[in-house]
């Protein structure tokens, strides 16, 4: 394979991995703490992308659009958690999955009503290219990777150095015992859900200049995000990072080797990992309590 093609493939894979990571981290945290499958995270991803589109058109500043996407997605997640999820935490896992899928489909309908069904382009915040080992690479893709890396560090510091982060980690181990300590678990759930929604919105906003924004965009990445969460292990941040890197590279390099591989190879890898380690790379045997 042409080395220049390989380098650009790796950078493309890293930027895809960054988007998958930002989206999957919310799903993973929500499952780990609240034991819910929050498919509505894919809606916040779309909301983030559409806000990036609208605000960038109005203000001419894509970064402002990305920021608006983060804020609005986080606020939408807050409303959904307060009025819907809070009522169903005690229910079976499948109940949250079906409910969140309903929110996703309903949300896609609202997006269609507001922005229509025609795909929208979002301009790149910077058209600059940088040369890496003789290969020209878009600076924006590197910026996406850098932002995802900063988010990982931020989430790591949050979960390991702050009181509320430790409480969330303890809750992932056993939420009943956290409640037994007198900690306000409901508040932990809300904070986690809003963080998850805001990160999904950030993923959408950052991804928007790299694709065409359309109402179905959340559903299009659904399978990849699920793969990342399952391969990494439900509830594991480290696992989510590693698996998003694997899936991102497999999709990117796979498409360079043989185009249909881009879609097939991640599934094959997921099946292989699940055969060897059914809980995913870093997952624990967690059950619904």
């Amino acid at each position: 394979m042409d080395p220049q093609l390989l380098i650009s493939g790796v950078i493309f894979g890293l930027s895809m991995a960054s988007v998958y990571f930002l989206m999957s981290i919310g799903l993973s945290l929500c499952f780990g703490l609240m034991r819910i499958i929050s498919l509505d995270q894919l809606l916040y991803y779309s909301v983030g992308a559409y806000l990036a589109y609208t605000v960038s058109v109005v203000s001419g500043n894509v970064w402002l659009g990305v920021l608006a996407g983060v804020v609005v997605s986080g606020m939408t997640a807050l409303v959904v958690e307060r009025f819907i999820f809070r009522r169903i935490y005690e229910r079976e896992l499948t109940f949250s999955m079906i409910t969140s899928f309903g929110i996703l489909i309903g949300g896609v309908g609202v997006i269609k009503a507001i922005w229509g069904v025609v795909p929208r382009p979002v301009r790149m915040p910077t058209p600059d290219l940088v040369t890496i080992f003789g290969t020209e690479v878009p600076v924006y893709r590197l910026m996406v990777v850098g932002i995802a890396a900063l988010v990982y560090i931020g989430i790591w510091l949050f979960l390991n150095k702050t009181i509320i982060g430790k409480a969330i980690r303890a809750g992932i181990e056993d939420v009943e015992h956290v409640e037994g300590l007198g900690i306000n678990v409901s508040r932990l759930f809300t904070i986690t859900f809003v963080i998850a929604g805001a990160l999904s919105g950030l993923a959408g906003g950052l991804h928007a200049p790299l694709i065409m924004v359309d109402p179905q965009m959340g559903l299009e990445v659904l399978a990849f995000v699920f793969m990342v969460v399952i391969i990494g292990g439900l509830g594991s941040i480290k696992g989510t990072l590693v698996s998003s890197l694997i899936v991102g590279q497999v999709v990117s390099i796979g498409s360079l080797i043989y185009a249909p591989l881009a879609l097939m190879a991640p599934f094959a890898i997921m099946l292989l990992i699940l055969l060897v380690k059914p809980t995913g790379l870093y997952g624990s045997t967690m059950v619904k309590k």
Binding site: N160, T162, I163, G182
Partner: protein
């Protein structure tokens, strides 16, 4: 006159057709050191879960200092000063000993602002005098930075009780704190618990009677969801129903055969 701290009246809990706790009455007085004993499946832990709010009873009421707490959440009860330990240790394996204690201490932050919750560093509390003192009291100072998953069961039990005590509860509810411990570890746990007699009201659930013999002031014995005896240690031990349910000694049959 002793003050009633916790009072359960005609409390009933069913799981499907099974009545796990059947019209149980129980009162815990200030600075009491009481025990609930019974064989496996007697309903001890279920009754305990009713007191702590993990389960809600179908019938009956639970009062804390005269206030009805029957429908209150565990968190609300902890806020009122009722804390508990669990039968299976409820420490957090992936955190250090000190981090576990800081989480127990976290209650003080209940009404903290979002800023404090997000930007208060955990490390700040590691040298908190109260946490250091509890580490010393429970002989956990040498393992303060160790991950809990690397502790022995005895150390985990001590940590769990330390976490419950740290919140300075009015009522300390201990669910089989001696289960699975070696004799030397049992002595260690009971020794630290004795330091809290007279300071807190203590209720201990235990399977083995001999473990709590020198510790509790009065006992309640449960069998098949009912209270079959209540009173002092000797009094309960010699109760015919207790002898029958615990050791299968049927006094009435012995009496009849000797008469015959």
């Amino acid at each position: 006159m002793s003050i009633e701290i916790l009072k359960a009246s005609s409390v009933t809990k069913r799981f499907g057709a099974m009545v796990a706790v059947n019209r149980v009455d129980f009162t815990l007085y200030e600075h009491d050191v009481a025990g609930i004993i019974g064989s496996n499946g007697a309903g001890k832990t279920t009754f305990f879960n009713l007191l702590t709010g993990l389960f809600a009873p179908e019938e009956g009421s639970i009062l804390h200092k005269g206030v009805d707490v029957t429908r209150m959440t565990p968190q609300q009860r902890v806020a009122r000063g009722i804390t508990r330990t669990f039968q299976l240790t409820s420490t957090f394996d992936t955190l250090s000993v000190t981090d576990n204690l800081v989480l127990a201490y976290y209650r003080a932050f209940h009404k903290a602002s979002m800023w404090n919750l997000f930007f208060t560093k955990m490390k700040r509390f590691h040298d908190e005098p109260k946490i250091i003192s509890i580490l010393e009291t429970f002989d956990l100072l040498p393992v303060r930075d160790r991950m809990v998953k690397n502790l022995s069961l005895g150390e985990k039990r001590r940590l769990e009780i330390a976490m419950a005590v740290l919140a300075e509860p009015e009522v300390l509810l201990l669910d089989e704190p001696l289960a699975g411990l070696a004799e030397s570890e049992i002595k260690g746990v009971l020794a630290v618990l004795r330091r809290h007699i007279g300071k807190q009201t203590i209720l201990i659930v235990e399977h083995k009677i001999s473990h709590v013999q020198d510790f509790v002031q009065r006992l309640m014995v449960m069998h098949e969801g009912r209270v079959i005896a209540e009173g002092g240690y000797e009094e309960c031990l010699n109760h015919p129903e207790v002898r029958k349910s615990y050791w299968q000694i049927d006094d009435s049959a012995t009496e009849n055969s000797s008469n015959g």
